[in-house]
């Protein structure tokens, strides 16, 4: 049951809490927005990932099951 971290870029306002709580998978770009590792979340980081998702002030960070197709054209 692989899960991927994804951010809703419309909801995200760049608080940066996710990058603090999950630096292994999230870094911030030069404007403060998260760059998320696209690979599935390793089991060891699962708890931290859930904590980061819960801590997001705008609930922009989500954990999605396996490979959901991304945006369309």
């Amino acid at each position: 049951m692989a899960e991927n971290l994804r951010v809703n870029p419309i909801q995200c306002t760049g608080h940066g809490v996710c990058a603090e709580l999950l630096p292994e998978l999230v870094t911030l770009d030069e404007w403060g927005y998260p760059i998320i590792d696209p690979r599935p979340v390793p089991p060891a980081l699962d708890r931290d990932a859930r904590r980061a998702v819960a801590a997001c002030p705008t609930l922009a960070l989500r954990l999605l099951r396996s490979e959901q197709p991304a945006r369309s054209g």
Partner: protein
């Protein structure tokens, strides 16, 4: 705004290829002429038949994304509840400023599009049909709808909505957003509109040209459709062509047609006129000529240059223009048309556009190196990080310009420009968005 010319008229210059033109008659056809040529709308009456035919035909979307049509139809047909609401939308927003083919199709053969809309609705079990247009509906469309209604040809009433003149207005989620009463701004997926779209119902959004092809496949079958085109990319597509010596024109071309046949041959003698080809519109790719001279109008061939056919915009850039300046102009437009909803796109695209404008200015080689480095960094930062593909397409366009116009960039760094003609070449609309109402 110059009117594009239809070059596909029977007997016209494009008639060299057997089986063409398929979509565009010489003059606008009203319902009477349409019925005389094609007969009534061929409702299938049995589920799955049309979808199977479309699968065999290999029809892909003609709105730019080239997604297999049968897959979208299938997903929407299976989605939701048996008796639930389902929506089909004919997308005629044609938000790409350089594209005029949907406008031409809707003017000349609206009934073909409307047939396709009804057939797609039947295939997925839709309860609601919409037509989404770039301009206020023209007399041909309105008359076609009225005539079809009075003859009881349409199973579903069609609601016509006008899109705002924004680049993103034709994006699938923006269409659904607008039809739902909101602004024509993209929304985040998941959920996909095919699962939860307009009012939460599974929604099929299909380009008007795609629907026209579908209406013909329903009549003549998949084998007929595959009689032109390539094995992997069958059929024909409408292209909007810009050549230095002519006005913009629309031409229906078989997929796989050499670009030189559409844009003019490039050889030692006559390439004095053209320096590069733009394929796929403003989210497309600049191809260097003569390197790309042998490329054909199919994604397999175009992929070798990192290009794709998109919605069929093909432009030959004259040698007397500056490719860097053209790119900077268009990128400025693309940046201004950002929805401004996603941090990376909002921050990155204006900076990328400004950097290109600086490269087009004459600021010295040191400045050029820093600016190109910034450009490359920003391009990497925006790609894939928006809710839609706007940043990705813009980056593809810009990167191809950095490669194709590298010599020109170097010239500008030395304070020179090879252009002798300053008038802009690629078309851009007037009026950039400034207020919230500009998206509704």
């Amino acid at each position: 705004m110059s009117t594009a010319v239809n070059e596909s008229a029977p007997g016209g210059a494009a008639r060299h290829h057997a089986g063409l033109p398929r979509l565009l008659p010489a003059a606008p056809e009203d319902l009477h002429a349409h019925l005389a040529r094609y007969g009534p709308t061929p409702y299938q009456r049995r589920p799955g038949v049309l979808i199977a035919a479309v699968e065999t035909a290999g029809l892909t979307g003609r709105g730019g994304a080239a997604f297999p049509v049968y897959r979208k139809l299938d997903v929407v047909a299976r989605a939701g509840l048996r008796q639930g609401r389902k929506v089909v939308v004919a997308n005629g927003a044609e938000s790409e400023p350089a594209s005029r083919k949907d406008e031409m199709l809707l003017r000349l053969a609206p009934n073909l599009v409307l047939d396709g809309l009804q057939l797609a609705a039947e295939a997925v079990g839709a309860t609601e049909a919409h037509l989404y247009l770039h301009y206020a509906p023209g007399p041909q469309i309105l008359r076609a709808l009225a005539e079809r209604a009075s003859r009881g040809l349409d199973r579903l009433g069609v609601t016509v909505t006008q899109a705002p003149p924004r680049f993103l207005a034709g994006q699938e989620t923006a269409v659904v957003n607008r039809l739902g009463g909101g602004p024509a701004l993209p929304t985040f997926q998941p959920p996909r509109v095919t699962e939860r779209g307009l009012g939460g119902a599974p929604t099929l959004v299909q380009n008007v040209e795609t629907l026209a092809h579908l209406a013909l496949i329903a009549r003549y079958g998949p084998r007929w459709f595959r009689a032109v085109g390539t094995g992997d990319e069958p059929g024909s597509m409408l292209t909007t062509i810009y050549r230095p010596d002519t006005k913009a024109h629309i031409r229906e071309a078989a997929i796989g047609t050499p670009l030189s046949a559409l844009l003019g041959a490039i050889d030692g003698a006559s390439d004095g006129g053209v320096q590069a080809w733009l394929v796929g519109g403003y989210h497309g790719t600049w191809l260097p000529v003569p390197d790309a001279a042998g490329v054909t109008l199919d994604n397999a061939s175009l992929a070798r240059f990192g290009a794709a056919a998109g919605a069929g915009v093909l432009a030959a850039l004259p040698s007397d223009r500056c490719g860097l300046t053209e790119t900077a102009r268009v990128t400025g437009y693309l940046a201004a048309e950002s929805a401004g909803q996603c941090g990376p796109c909002l921050n990155g695209l204006p900076r990328i556009a400004a950097a290109l404008a600086e490269l087009a200015g004459f600021k010295g080689p040191g400045h050029r190196r820093r600016t190109v480095a910034d450009l490359e960094r920003w391009s990497g930062l925006v790609e894939g990080r928006g809710a839609c593909h706007h940043p990705d397409g813009t980056v593809r366009f810009v990167r191809s310009a950095l490669t194709t116009f590298a010599p020109e960039i170097a010239r500008h760094a030395r304070g020179q420009c090879s252009a002798t003609e300053r008038r802009p070449y690629l078309p851009l609309p007037d009026g950039l968005p400034a207020r919230e109402e500009d998206w509704t």
